[in-house]
Every structure is written in C-alpha cells, then in structure tokens.
Symmetry: C2
Subunit: 207 residues, 2 copies
Amino acid sequence: MKFHYPNGKKFIPLQQKTTSIKKTKDKDGTYGNRGMTLEEDLNDTNAYYLERQIAVIHKKPTPVQIVQVDYPKRSAAVIKEAYFKQASTTDYNGVYKGRYIDFEAKETKHETSFPLKNFHEHQIQHMEQVIEQNGICFVIIRFSTTEEVYLIEAKHLLHFWNRMNTGGRKSITKEEIIEYGHSIPLGFQPRIDYIRIIDYLYNPSSY
Amino acid sequence: MKFHYPNGKKFIPLQQKTTSIKKTKDKDGTYGNRGMTLEEDLNDTNAYYLERQIAVIHKKPTPVQIVQVDYPKRSAAVIKEAYFKQASTTDYNGVYKGRYIDFEAKETKHETSFPLKNFHEHQIQHMEQVIEQNGICFVIIRFSTTEEVYLIEAKHLLHFWNRMNTGGRKSITKEEIIEYGHSIPLGFQPRIDYIRIIDYLYNPSSY
C-alpha cells in the first residue's frame, strides 16, 4: 500500500532511495555505480544539497511543444500529441550563497577526448550571456567507461568552441580536460560534490 | 514563404514582434494591452533584458510526465501520451549582476484582494529555500481588470501564507499589496520593468 501525503506525491525518504540504488555490489565487493546515469547522480546530489540547505539547484523540465490535449471527464488532462523542443538554455540552474549557478552535464563513451558536438550553439550562447551577467557557469563531463567526472568552467569551454569554429579540432582532448578542468571524485553522499569545486574557485577562504 | 535560419527556428526580429502586438489601438486611441497575458508580457520583458544584456532570465518549461513516444521513420519523435506535472519550483529564474533571481507570476480577476490559492505549498517551500540561500525571490501579481501589476517580495508573501495557515484570511487584501508591494507601471519597452524595482530594493545606489 502506498501512503499519499498532502502534496499528492508518494513519500520516498531521500536517504533510503539513495542508499538502495547505491548498494549494488560489484563482483569484487565494492559499491559500484551500475545503472546510475550522470543525470541521476546529479539529481541525487542536488537533493542532498537541498535537504542540507547547502544550495538550491534543480534540473529544468524537458521542453515540449504541446499540440493536442484531451480533457476526459473526471480524470486528468492527457497530452495526445507533443514534440520535443531544443532547450534554449542549459539544463541545471539555481542559487548558492546568493550567487547564480548554471551548468550543463554531458557524458561520453569516448576515452581520450570529449566531442564538442555534445553541446548546441544556443547553449554556448546562453553560457556567454550568463558569464556576461557574472553568473557562475560550467559544464560537468563524465567519461562513462572510466566513471571519471570533471568540472570545466564555461570560459574554457568557450575557448575550445571558438577553436573549433576557427578550423580547429572538434573535441577537447583528455589532456586539456585534466589541465583546465577539475576532477570531482565520485562520493557516497553527495555523489558528485561539485559545490566543493565552486567553493575552491569562488570562495577560497571557505574551502 | 518562411525562411529557416540555421537553428531551425523561424526568424522573428524581437523589435518587430513586440511592436506589432503592442500597436493594437483601443477605441480611445491609446495603445492597449488587449490579448497580452501576464506571461506574454514577461516573456517580452525577459527577451528585452536578454537582448540589451541587462539580465538573463527565462521561464522554465512546463513539466510533463512522458508515458509513450513514437519514433516514426524519417520524422521527429512524437509524444503520444503525457500528463501535466505540478512544478516543484517557481516558473521564472535567472541571473542579474551575479545575483540569483527567482519569481512566480500570477494574475487574478478579483479586484479587491489576491487569493492565496494561486500558489502551491511546494512553491512556497521553494521560495523559503531560495531566501535561505540569499537569492532574490518575489512574486509578480496582475489584477487583470485594472491591468495593475505589483511586485511583492517573497518574505511578505510568506508572512501572509503563514497568517492563512494559522487560521487567518485566505487572501492578501489590495491595501496590503499596495502597502507591502511595489507597483510596476506598464511600459512600452520593457513592458513590465521589474528589474527597476530590484535595483531600488537591492542596489539603491544604482537606482
């Protein structure tokens, strides 16, 4: 039986939900990340930040162009025809100590470089606009085969994007990511502690 | 014939789009607001802020729970079954001079008070979380019959919400809105210049 709390949502204690997914043991007995996508890890991380009042950061809903909606009697409206729209911004934003936080997260199966085609022109434009407004803007990149996660400030991404647009390579090499980015060790709670890197970069005294 | 620019979107110059809607003349010869919803006015305003590099503020997409998607050959994926989800945050957020901006916009046909049922419990919770993180959080309210628009800081809304939850009235009176809120005169460009109020409240020296 499911209990429904006043907000109409099934109540799932965060702690429990997180732990049950994480306790998938690998063959060698270590707790693995099997089946957790970068998005799931970041949603868990953001839920952790929210619960502990560390930061308020949410993933934006997937933008959808709604064409046809049915309104059946005595039940919820049903969307019968809709299409995926391209997002005009990055996927995640929110607030940390009054500062605006904005980022995009992407994973790749490549092992020696990160292809820039993972980003869209309008996302790059949005990052430029956020930097112009003095917001904190970055990307989180995961190499899925090695589970390595890096935070790269948007200013560096823009540099590599411009290199591509002026005839240069269409990817960032792993060496460049290591040099310009910041490795985020995969943790237990939170999973991907990117706020720690933000503290290091923007509030060094609190680090 | 429609020209499609590289991003696949029909190109509509902002200036032109805005003006054509606004030039609907009322019978008495003044430029009226006929047919413009509060959301349209705010989208126009945010487009104006973005274009002039004043602020980067976007409306979040409507959250939708996608159940079934068809992938026809040689054409775009079609969502065949989906449902509207309740938003877990407010509708608008972004960055202004490095600060995090967050707000919800609502209009009412009532003339002497604003019913609090226009907000949901989880939106109120989100506002509390944003205030806790030192973000700038408010609501924009329009009385549709008189076209009056007010900005009310979230801290005041929380006060009225708590009054309701301890047995008090289920609305904010017009007098209270005038006392605690800030009237935003309807302009030509931008339509609803709420950043001017934010400057007055948070950057008085630049006002």
